[in-house]
Symmetry: C2
Subunit: 166 residues, 2 copies
Amino acid sequence: MPYLRNGSSMVSMRSIGYVKSPYRNTAEVPRGLGAKHEAEGVLEILPEFETGLTDIDGFSHLFVLWLFDRSRGYELMGTPPSDNRPHGVFATRSPRRPNPIGLTVVELLARNGPRLRVRGVDMLDGTPILDIKPYLSSVAPERLRRGWLAEAEARKCGGAEGNRTG
Amino acid sequence: MPYLRNGSSMVSMRSIGYVKSPYRNTAEVPRGLGAKHEAEGVLEILPEFETGLTDIDGFSHLFVLWLFDRSRGYELMGTPPSDNRPHGVFATRSPRRPNPIGLTVVELLARNGPRLRVRGVDMLDGTPILDIKPYLSSVAPERLRRGWLAEAEARKCGGAEGNRTG
């Protein structure tokens, strides 16, 4: 009964809408250490799915799942823009993943029918949206460890917390 | 070039591993208001993808994207266990979504080769994993609004913030 039982399988995925973003190509998207994602954009949901947005207005933040539709293939190790060392793909946000699904937390600014105006887009214009979910709770910052990213920041910024190697 | 341009399309998705969970059926998963997800489980990554876990040990929390592989079809409006009123599917965590992708934040307790022991599983045993991403930052709690869920809590718990209707 369950599918995807044998490692690889085709799954039917549909776009529920598209992202309107100021970014036309990846070079324009802020990346690397300290990158801020404050860009505003619009999640344009297809009319057939608009009913699914009922009551979404009450949430300040949303998870957006989307497709890296202009990425091809994957690599298990890669060097992200925030570091000069390679890391495993599941420890990074690389677009070249076994399943090319992106995840972005956005702030919902306004809803106009099937259009959600949001802040925090880091997707390219025209990116297909797969799903939207309400953001319900956060991990407390004091409980977060951020592995190689924190180390890269410390190396770059001369942070006192060590792990400097240069 | 981009796929998923025409509303619906087949996308190749593969399982990168499976969840070992104490839950055998959905009735066992804590749901509704105040449900705590403290259950421990294991993310068993397939050997061919183990290299992609390099450096993941440094992160305290992970996003797990997975497939609702025992859910069929979708509905745009549904009544979640935490309320007695229907809401749009994109404002809930219903499994019956246009694209049946689940998202769970887990705490990484230990790694043993391709096995990640984690806290916070709410998936069923054997659930296919699609992706793992590092959890890098949180939305500050004072900036979060939680819409119908906060209202349902207030109704149920007699919270002073109003919206009580009974």
